[in-house]
Every structure is written in structure tokens, then in C-alpha cells.
């Protein structure tokens, strides 16, 4: 069995507990304006040109973004990091892109990890059919669940899809007692207004009483050069990064609601 991934990040320390390997799956059903990983959108491997410098000369080389990898091979790469996971209480985080797009492979990997005693986290947009979610949900030890906006119209505008499935699936895994951390990308002027923050607090209290943790993921304009490389229009040109104090205010607001909040995961 094979999947397309575009990166393996070792010594990942902000995507779940301990020292982790983050596996980035290629392919995503969403098209968020603020996406940090535009190379993850298409599921196909893509060729980009890259500059390599050597002694003042520039060499332009083709680089393949995304590669097919077998479950066995990926597992070998993960196991190389086992000593660090064991020491730190870490594990593997499946991220993307959207890992749920490559469901069978994802389940296969989580099975292997469970056999090896490796903790797994699934970093997901939650955008998948209920059937897929039901099939997958018993496997990961932890969900890192993205929540972008509660208003469906706004959600559609900025991500390209409705939030209905996302909210339903969230409720589903929450009610089944799974360990879930909500990840809220804080996008200035889009979802950080007072009304939306209050709505979220209310939503958590009413619909997700078991949720304990919220990660605020501040918007960064770090991915601009990637948009150019992949010839994807960057719609966020005019948006600036948050001020630290605004983030702290937001953190305090959510904390009032009884949540354990951290900035940056």
C-alpha cells in the first residue's frame, strides 16, 4: 500500500505531546486562504524549480514535491525516531494536507504504530464523510482538530467548503470520548472578531463539554514564497500578522471559558 506525502518533519514538538515525527500527506479538499502549506493541495507529486548555490554560482534544479511511499518504508523512517519518542512521550502526527483523503493507508499506518506502541495523533480538517470518520476514529490516540469558522457562509468563502461535515464529525468524535485538542487558526479580520470568539466559547460549552484544550495557531505570512513557487494566487497579501498582546488577550478570553489554552500548540 502506498501514499503520497510531501514531507517528514522530525523533532516536531508542537503537534502533540513529546518529540514527534509529523507525516505530511499530500492532497487537501480545502483551499484556505491562509494555508501555510500550499504544496499540500494537490495530491499529485509536483515538479518545482529550486535554486542551489555553490561558490557564488546558482544551479537551477528540478525538485519533486511529494513522493509515493509504502507503509513499510514509512514505518521504517518512523521507527528510526523511536528512541526520541520513548524518552519524551512522543509519537507520530499525521498531518497534511488532509490525511483522511488517503484513508486506507492512514489506518494501516496507525495499526502499525499501535503494534509498536507508538502514540498517534491525527491532525485533521475534519472534512470527510461520516463513514470515513467512523472507520478511522478508533485508531488515533489524539485528535488535533482544526476549527476555522462557525458561520457556514464565511467558512465557504475562505476555505471553499461548508463546515457542516466538519462540525458533525467533531461532535461525533467528541461524544465517543476521544481525546481532542481544538486547533484554531487565528486569522486577523476573518475569524478573530469578538462575536466569533464569543460564539466559539458558547459552542464549546454547549456542544463540546469534554474538550479541555485549545491551541491558538497565529497567522504567519511565512508561506508567501511558496505561493510564488507553486503559482497559486496569494489572497492574503494585505493581511498582517497579529500583535503578541492581541493574541494574549484572545488567550485570556478563551481561558475564562475554562479551557487550557496555548499559543502555537
Amino acid at each position: 500500500m502506498k501514499a503520497v506525502i510531501f514531507d517528514l518533519n522530525r523533532f516536531a514538538i508542537h503537534e502533540g505531546p513529546g518529540i514527534r515525527v509529523t507525516v505530511f500527506f499530500k492532497g487537501c479538499p480545502l483551499g484556505c486562504w491562509w494555508c501555510h502549506n500550499p504544496e499540500s493541495r494537490s495530491q499529485k507529486p509536483q515538479i518545482v524549480m529550486r535554486e542551489q548555490k555553490l561558490n557564488g554560482r546558482t544551479f537551477r534544479v528540478q525538485e519533486l514535491v511529494g513522493r509515493e511511499i509504502s507503509a513499510n518504508h514509512l514505518m521504517q523512517e518512523i521507527l528510526k525516531e523511536k528512541a526520541f519518542m520513548d524518552e519524551s512521550g512522543g509519537g507520530v502526527t499525521f498531518s497534511g494536507g488532509e490525511p483522511l483523503l488517503q484513508t486506507e493507508f492512514l489506518i494501516e499506518m496507525m495499526k502499525h504504530c499501535r503494534e509498536q506502541g507508538i502514540h498517534t495523533a491525527l491532525d485533521t480538517t475534519g472534512y470527510a464523510s461520516k463513514d470515513i470518520m467512523r472507520k478511522v476514529m478508533s485508531w488515533p490516540d489524539l485528535f488535533l482538530y482544526d476549527l476555522k469558522h462557525l458561520d457556514d457562509d464565511i467558512h465557504k468563502k475562505y476555505t471553499g467548503v461548508s463546515n457542516k461535515l466538519i462540525l458533525d464529525n467533531l461532535k461525533l468524535i467528541h461524544d465517543s470520548g476521544k481525546d481532542v485538542v481544538i486547533r484554531f487558526p487565528v486569522i486577523p479580520g476573518i475569524n478573530d472578531d469578538k462575536a466569533h470568539v464569543e460564539a466559539l466559547k458558547f459552542f464549546f460549552k454547549k456542544e463540546l463539554p469534554q474538550i479541555r484544550r485549545l491551541d491558538l495557531l497565529p497567522y504567519h505570512n511565512i508561506a508567501r514564497h511558496k505561493y510564488e513557487a507553486f503559482s497559486i494566487p496569494d489572497k492574503m497579501r494585505s493581511v498582517d500578522e497579529q500583535k503578541k498582546e492581541d493574541l494574549e488577550k484572545l488567550k485570556a478570553a478563551f481561558k475564562e471559558g475554562g479551557l487550557d489554552v496555548s499559543i502555537g500548540g
Binding site: 518529540i19 555553490l54 526520541f84
Partner: protein
């Protein structure tokens, strides 16, 4: 930091480093006097020390609590003309250097011209050495195959155990007398050469050595007494009552120690400091001297006095800080000749150990360990260096505290693996107890503190050996045939042929190195024994044999391998491109290398970017590192030295990877001629593409326990230590490396200047990883905007 310490710290930082002719003059005067001519060499050396300590200027700095300067004032640095003689040109170079200068005033220059140079010219120990080594040694030395540590500085490389806290110099004199009574007059008066009997073990030789030790012990008491006299004198003249009282107390301390074992925290520190001065005045030993496990040795005094109420935490801190300043007042003595030209360092490598285990293997960290870490953080001075000995027995709190200091980016403390150190020492034949009382000194060298003489003999250029192999014994830089005929590389059929030829050349050059070491070791033992240092290291007194002649319980001579990453990548490039993938023929690669890749840029690009490289946790390349390492180990480890010791290996470069690189042309890994080699066991700059965990995995594939130390350097920006969570994870990273029996790791936290420089000269910083936002990336790979953003952020974090 209180007012006093601020003042002393400023005084130390502001003091101008200069050459003092005081010691050179005293030594010359002494050697001109007739009374020395009938005495044996060890006795002469002891009398030489006594003459210096009796006649040198006693310096007591305003407001200080620990007294004693090697020269007449802070940073006034003595010379050792009996070991190496500075010419007028050397003095001018030292005076004129932009960095790491030693100012030379007109008077000093004149004294050198009129007295020092005429007396010592042609009679130094360096002259003896250069006249004794073979032509093949000189050829290899000049070609940059190896360096020689003992050519300009005395062996030493040792660390004090707990002896001085139990015994005063008077107690040692009693032991010496006992040893004298035990001498067997029936044994030969002199150890016959070449008969398997250790140097210096004839009864007359022992007798002379023991007499010399006695003179040296008394000399230190006398020296402390001169400080007491001066303090009493100053106290009498002092009007300010608090300082007056302080100086009276200090005078009392100098009367008690080093004559007697110390009773208080203050006495213990002052005693050590006198001993330190004795060692670095007698000779100019490598790594100066070192109190080693300071938190262990001082803790009993600390506990007792705190409990009794005669000491407060603040007072203990102040005393430790005063002690720290003493080290900083003592730059490493400068060398002569070409090496005086190189930008050197003032650091004299005294490395304070914190943490580790007790003799019974239990957690040795205590309240004082944390206090010392506080002192390190607050003082932020070049000397002494400091390290954390991290055992699995130590609480996590200890490493987290240390990481918070490392985060501030001043390079200290480095972190060592206690379990690895203990196993390394036990493998070499030390008792478990002696091993547990050990630690690391200098850069990264394992040693049994108080019982071992471990000499570093020189860096060894592994990559240069490969270059000579690829030229069938010829040094392509000079055209000289300095190696053996190991075969024309163009007819090699397989990669194994390359390895086999390399093995032959390596054996050839290591033999030259070890033969040279043996000659040099004997020269030191015979001509410049160290009776004072011998008082301090067991079992020199019991054996009646000098430290330099093998009197210590354990005797080791290290050869330090350099350029592991560079040679690995070159071998991997040959295996991959020539033998496995057949992209190029050997001839094509060698042509490109000989042309320094001019006209072969495409090939160079391929060699750099498309070769499996060390540092990525991939066996293809890492296996070459293991092969080279094992070969080096097999050829060195276990060979005997003349003082009854054993040759062993280390893997550390200090700064020699730059010098060694300047002696090598282009190499198959794509490195241009004369560029620096990889450092320690770190990958070639920029070769590691998978982050720190992969680097640690690759580095752990060589068997660290077969060495006496390895050095791994990791470059991080401050954001890697951003918050509590990051500190915990970096702690886990270190713990995991240590579980894999890595010996040492240090974090080089880079600041804004480095990032700016990296923007200008990307090729120098190919390995620089920065934390971007929840992920890390190579700095060079980031767009300029983002680089600027990272620079701004780093600036912000630092403020």
C-alpha cells in the same frame, strides 16, 4: 552580583593582556646561579619553582577575597623560556595581533633582547624535541598530518580529585617521608633503558624525585605565607574597618592553607587557588589546571557552615564569583613561531564539572550544583569553562536549569554523559570507583580525576591521509613522497580497494606519530619533570615517580582524530559516484579534484548535493564513518607508551579542523581546496538535511565508549529554547543521545550577527537551521523577506 563582584569583574574584563618577563627573568637568574649545577634534574626543577615563588611580586587586588596571581598583575602573562623561547619577532606578532593579542612593552622587549634570548637560545625543550624527532616525523608534521601538543607546552591535561580537601602540604610531606623510608636500596639506582622497567623507577631516581616533591610542597607554603605577610601589612594600613577585618581573616586563611587541610568553604577555595598557581607556575601545562567536581568537593563545607550559620548562600555565591574571576585573570600562555600568528584563544580550558554521580553511583547533584549554575549564568566570563555532567541518576530539573543558561547563547555549559564517561574509563582499565570520581576536562576528554595523567598528544588529520592515499603516497600540495606506495587509485577495482589502501597509509602515519610521541614523552620525563604537580595526583608520592614519567595510577596518551564528517562524505562520494552508480570514473573525479573543480562545476554540484552524506541517519554514508573510526581505533588503542601508559583515541578538533583544512586540496565530497574540515563528529557544514534527531542518530553509530571523548556541536537559534515546553524537548533530545551512549553535546545558540552574516555569505552557513513557525528550515532556503523576519524575531527574543 554585588558591588564588590561587579568591580572585580570589570577589573578583570578591562585588564589588558600583556606579556610579563617576571618569570622568565627569575628562571634565568636561577639557572645562572652556580648552586644549581650539582643537583639532580627533579631537585633543580623544584628549586626553580621555589625561587620563583620566593621572589615574585605578590599581587593583592583591591577588595578581592581570593588572592594570588601567576604574574605581577591580572592578565600579566608569564613566559616559559626553558620550554619555548619567544624571539623578538614573536613578541612583535603577539603585540600587534588584532585579536587575542599580548601587549609587550619596551622594557620587556629589552629584557628579552639582553638577557632571556642570549641565555636560552638553542637550549629550550622545543630545541631538544626538534633535534630528536625523525625526518619522516618532520615531513608529516609540516604537511599537516598531525600536530604535536607537547612541542610548546607541558603535558598536564589533568584534574584534581579530592586530595587537597583532606590533606595539607604538611600531610603530604609526611607521606613523602614515608615513601622515602620505603625505598628499596637493593633495587637498581637507575632504571636501565629498554629493559621493560618503567622510566624513573630506580631507587636513586625515586629518592631525588621525592626530595623534589618535598621542596615543591614547602615552596607553596612559603608562597602562601608571603600573601599572609602582605595582607597583614595592608590590614594594618587599612582605615576602613570592614575591609581591615576581611584582610586579617584572609591572612589567617593563607597561614592555615595550603599548609593544612581546609576547614571552611573560603579556605577550600583559597587552597585550590594556590595549588592552581603552583601547577601553572612550575610549567605551562595544557588545560592549565582544574578543580574538577567542584560541587562535590565543596558541598561538605557548604552544608556544615550553612547549618552552623557561619556561612550564608549570598556569601558562598560571592566567594564562588571571586574564584571565577581568578580564572579569568589568567589567559593561556602564548606560543611561539607560526602558531603565534594564528588567531588563538585566551581560554586555558579549565573546565568546572557540575553534577554526575557519587563514588557509589548515586545522584551527586546537590544544592551547590544549582548555586554554581547560577554563578555561571551571572558571571558570563570566558574563564573558567563549565559543563554539566548529566547522569541518568540526576533529576531533570538539573538539565533544564542548564538549558536555560545555554539558551542565553554564551556557549556554556556544555553537556556530558556521565554513564558514557564511566564506561569509557572502565573499559580502559580504571576501577569503577575511580571512574565515577572522574569527569571531562579540556574540551571533552574523559579522565579519572586525581589519579590519571592523560596527555593529549596531537590532532590527527584523517582526511589528509585519504588525500595522500588518492595520490599513491604523494602529497599533491608539495609533491613530496611522504606516504607509502598504496597503489594507483585509477586501477582500483572496487571500493574495498580504496579502503584497503587507506588503511595502509593510516597505519604508516600513525606509526610515525606514535614513535614521535614516545621520543617526546621521554624528553619531558627526563628534562622537565613536574614535582609540584606530582604531589597532587595519586600515586606519584607512593610510587616516588614523577607525573611526567608515569607516576600517576593511570597513564594515557591520546591521539585526536579530526575530520570524520569530511572523510566520510569523500568516501561516500567515491563509493556512490564511482563504484555503485558509475556516474564518473576515478580518473574523472581525481582530475576534477586536482583542478580544484575549476571547469568541473557541474560535477562539483553533483558531488555536493547528490551524495549520501553523514548526518542523516542513513547507513550508506554513516557506515563509512564507522569503518574509518574502527580502523583508527584498531591502529592506536592499546599501544604502549614509554611511561608505562597506553595510547587511546579521541574525536575532537578544538580549532584544528580549520588548520588541517588549509593543508588539504579539493576532495571528492566537493569541498574546495583549503576550506575547513568538518568539526568534531559533527557532519560537514550543511550536509545534514533532516534535523537534530538524525544528526544524533548518525553520531551515535560510532562506538563512543572506545574513545576518551567525542565532540558534537549543534547550532540552534534561541527560538529552539523558546518556552518551557521547548526546553523540556531539548532536554529529551539530550537524554536520548546519552541513552545511545553519546559522549558530549553542546548547543551553539546563534544570534543576530550570525544570521546577518549568513545572509551575506550563505555558503558558510549551509547547516544553519532556524525555527520558522512550528517548523524549522535551513536559513539559506528561506526567501530574503523571511530571513529578515527571522532576524527581527531573533533580535526581539534576545532583548
Amino acid at each position: 552580583m554585588n558591588k564588590r563582584i561587579k568591580k572585580l569583574r570589570k577589573q578583570s574584563l578591562d585588564a589588558v593582556t600583556r606579556i610579563s618577563a617576571e618569570r622568565a627573568l627569575l628562571v634565568t637568574e636561577f639557572h645562572k646561579s652556580t648552586e644549581t649545577q650539582s643537583a639532580s634534574i627533579p631537585v633543580t626543577r623544584a628549586l626553580n619553582l621555589e625561587y620563583i615563588l620566593r621572589n615574585k611580586h605578590i599581587c593583592i587586588n583591591e577588595d578581592e577575597l581570593i588572592v594570588g596571581e601567576r604574574g605581577p598583575a591580572p592578565k600579566a602573562t608569564p613566559t616559559y623560556p626553558e620550554i619555548n623561547l619567544h624571539s623578538i619577532e614573536d613578541l612583535e606578532i603577539l603585540d600587534g595581533r588584532k585579536k587575542v593579542f599580548f601587549k609587550v612593552d619596551e622594557k620587556t622587549r629589552k629584557v628579552y633582547e639582553d638577557m632571556i634570548i642570549p641565555f636560552w637560545k638553542g637550549k629550550t625543550n622545543r630545541d631538544r624535541i626538534m633535534n630528536s624527532v625523525s625526518k619522516s616525523w618532520l615531513d608529516a608534521y609540516q604537511a599537516g598530518l598531525f600536530t604535536e601538543f607537547q612541542e610548546q607546552r607541558a603535558p598536564g591535561h589533568t584534574v584534581l580529585g579530592d586530595k587537597i580537601y583532606k590533606k595539607g602540604m604538611n600531610d603530604l610531606i609526611v607521606e613523602i617521608e614515608q615513601s622515602l623510608r620505603n625505598l628499596d636500596a637493593g633495587s637498581p639506582a637507575l632504571a636501565p633503558p629498554g629493559r621493560g622497567m618503567k622510566m624513573g623507577t630506580g631507587w636513586n631516581e625515586k629518592k631525588e624525585e621525592l626530595e623534589a616533591m618535598k621542596i615543591a610542597a614547602r615552596a607553596l607554603i612559603l608562597y602562601a605565607g608571603r600573601h599572609a605577610d602582605k595582607l597583614e601589612d595592608l590590614a594594618q594600613k587599612e582605615n576602613e574597618p570592614v575591609r581591615k577585618k576581611e584582610m586579617e581573616t584572609m591572612a589567617g586563611i593563607c597561614r592555615r592553607v595550603p599548609a593544612n587541610a581546609p576547614l571552611t568553604f573560603h579556605e577550600a577555595l583559597q587552597y585550590y587557588w594556590f595549588v592552581h598557581l603552583g601547577v601553572i607556575t612550575e610549567l605551562n601545562p595544557w588545560d592549565s589546571f582544574n578543580p574538577g567536581r567542584l560541587d562535590q568537593h565543596l558541598y561538605p563545607y557548604y552544608r556544615k557552615e550553612i547549618d552552623e550559620g557561619s556561612l550564608t548562600k549570598e556569601k558562598a555565591t560571592e566567594l564562588l564569583q571571586s574564584f571565577w574571576i581568578k580564572f579569568n585573570n589568567h589567559p593561556a600562555p602564548p606560543k611561539i613561531g607560526v602558531t603565534a600568528l594564528e588567531s588563538n584563544t585566551y581560554t586555558d580550558f579549565s573546565l568546572i564539572n557540575v553534577g554526575g554521580v557519587n563514588t557509589d553511583g548515586s545522584d551527586a547533584s546537590n544544592e551547590l550544583s544549582y548555586l554554581i549554575l547560577d554563578v555561571i549564568e551571572e558571571m558570563r566570563i570566558l574563564q573558567p569553562s563549565s559543563m554539566l555532567q548529566l547522569s541518568k541518576q540526576n533529576p531533570d530539573e538539573l538539565i533544564h536549569r542548564a538549558l536555560k543558561i545555554i539558551k542565553t547563547g554564551f556557549g556554556q555549559p556544555s553537556i556530558f554523559n556521565t554513564e558514557a564517561i564511566v564506561e569509557e574509563l572502565v573499559r580502559q582499565g580504571k576501577s569503577l570507583e575511580d571512574a565515577r570520581n572522574g569527569g571531562a576536562s579540556g574540551c571533552v576528554e574523559s579522565g579519572a580525576f586525581g589519579t590519571e595523567a592523560y596527555f593529549l598528544t596531537g590532532y590527527f588529520n584523517l582526511t589528509k591521509v585519504l588525500e595522500i592515499t588518492l595520490n599513491n603516497g604523494r602529497d599533491p600540495l608539495t609533491g613530496k613522497e611522504i606516504g607509502i606506495k598504496s597503489g594507483d587509485p585509477n586501477v582500483f577495482k572496487s571500493f574495498e580497494d580504496v579502503i584497503e589502501a587507506f588503511r595502509k597509509q593510516l597505519g604508516h602515519f600513525l606509526e610515525i606519530k606514535m614513535e614521535g610521541n614516545s621520543i617526546i614523552e621521554e624528553i619531558w620525563a627526563k628534562n622537565l619533570p613536574a614535582p609540584f604537580l606530582s604531589l597532587l595526583i595519586d600515586d606519584c608520592i607512593q610510587e616516588g615517580v614523577d607525573y611526567n614519567a608515569g607516576g600517576a595510577r593511570y597513564n594515557t596518551s591520546y591521539i585526536q582524530g579530526v575530520g570524520l564528517g569530511s572523510i566520510t562524505d569523500s568516501l561516500s562520494a567515491l563509493k556512490y559516484h564511482v563504484f555503485d552508480e558509475k556516474n564518473y570514473s576515478m580518473q574523472q573525479v581525481l582530475n576534477a579534484v586536482h583542478a580544484d573543480f575549476v571547469g568541473y562545476e557541474e560535477m562539483q554540484h553533483k558531488l555536493v548535493y547528490q551524495t549520501p552524506r553523514y548526518g542523516n541517519d542513513e547507513d550508506y554514508a554513516d557506515a563509512q564513518a564507522v569503518t574509518v573510526f574502527e580502523m583508527f581505533f584498531d591502529l592506536v588503542d592499546g599501544n604502549p607508551t614509554p611511561r608505562g601508559g597506553t595510547f587511546r583515541i579521541n574525536m575532537l578538533p578544538t580549532t584544528s579542523h580549520i588548520y588541517f583544512g588549509s593543508k588539504i586540496g579539493a576532495m571528492p565530497d566537493g569541498r574546495k581546496a583549503f576550506q575547513a574540515l568538518s568539526e568534531g563528529i559533527s557532519p560537514v557544514q550543511g550536509s545534514d538535511k533532516k534535523g537534530p534527531t538524525s544528526v544524533l542518530k548518525s553520531a551515535a553509530k560510532i562506538d563512543h565508549l572506545k574513545t576518551g571523548g567525542t565532540l558534537l556541536n549543534q547550532k540552534f537559534t534561541p527560538s529552539f529554547f523558546r518556552d518551557e515546553k521547548s526546553i523540556l524537548r531539548v532536554g529529551d533530545l539530550v537524554r536520548t543521545y546519552f541513552k545511545m551512549m553519546g559522549h558530549h553535546i553542546q548547543f551553539n545558540v546563534v544570534g543576530v550577527e550570525t544570521l546577518r552574516d549568513a545572509q551575506k555569505y550563505p555558503e558558510k552557513y549551509r547547516d544553519l537551521i532556524v525555527r520558522v513557525a512550528g517548523y524549522s528550515d535551513y536559513f539559506n532556503d528561506l526567501g530574503e523577506d523571511l530571513q529578515n523576519e527571522i532576524i527581527r524575531r531573533t533580535e526581539h527574543e534576545a532583548s
